[in-house]
Amino acid sequence: MARNRKPQEKLETNMSAMIDVVFQLLIFFMLTLKLIEPEGDFNINMPAQGKSNPNDSEPPPLDTKVKLQANADGTLSGVFLGSRPLGNDADAFKRLNIEILRLIGSPDNPLAEDMAVEIDADYNLHFRHVISAVGACTGRVDPRTQRVVKYIKNIKFKPPQKPGAAS
């Protein structure tokens, strides 16, 4: 057989075409690379108002009111749980988180299913504070296990009031 007679001869393939294509692919993937930070969602069920509640026979859930007050420029001026002020600094939401835990007793408490938090935010308040408040009411991340401990899932919003319409 011819092949066996010249065992040392190298089989040569023309690699340049393949390398061309491979580099094209590489450049394509590099250019289409879009690094996006992971996003998460807070799910909120909000049927239109005036619609009858299917579970009318059940007692209404216990509402906890969280009031978020804003300065004229939209920054946070105060967080209130019921009528109790919790401050307006970065730790206000941590305090809110602790207070919510105190309300529900223990994390993942089944009784918390019946509880709801109503967030009443000023019209011009920056949205980030609302997200912080929703986060503080929904639970916290366990620092050891990095898992989410759930507090109150049921979040409601007070209808917005335009500034000037009512203070």
């Binding site: 390398i19 491979v22 807070f42 909000m46 989410v148 209808p159």
Partner: protein, 160 residues
Amino acid sequence: MPKKRSSGIGSIEVDMTPMIDIVFQLIAFFMVINNFEQTQADERVKLPRDALAKPPEVKIEHEITLNIGFLRDMQGERTNADPFLFNFGGEDMMPPLSASKALEQEARLYNNREINPADVTVKIRADAEVPTGVVQELIKLAQDAKFEKFAMSAMSSDGT
């Protein structure tokens, strides 16, 4: 130069194997980290951050994304006072409170596909600096168009 001349027409052989190995590795790497998923997320929206905002474990079947944000300059400063609704209803930008027609149209489209708008999640991607009242009024418009499920987006990592 005598050396070159002596080699004549014969091509110089380079071993391509390691290079091809590396290049394939790179391609595989970029393919894996690339996100080809079609999202309706708008880059102009700077989302708020919260440690609790975890990416959903189950993919939401039907969703509409509402991007509310500001136009910003290179330094990230707002260039307009009022927020816009980006990339919705066939328009690049519109005032959020004039979205009712587009929302009703979306609801009609879902109805035509025999999907109840109440089963559709309206994902709200609002900029951290958008006034809450605007977001709430937009939610109200969506409720008027018979949407009931809402989700508020935030960056997963805790920036504080």
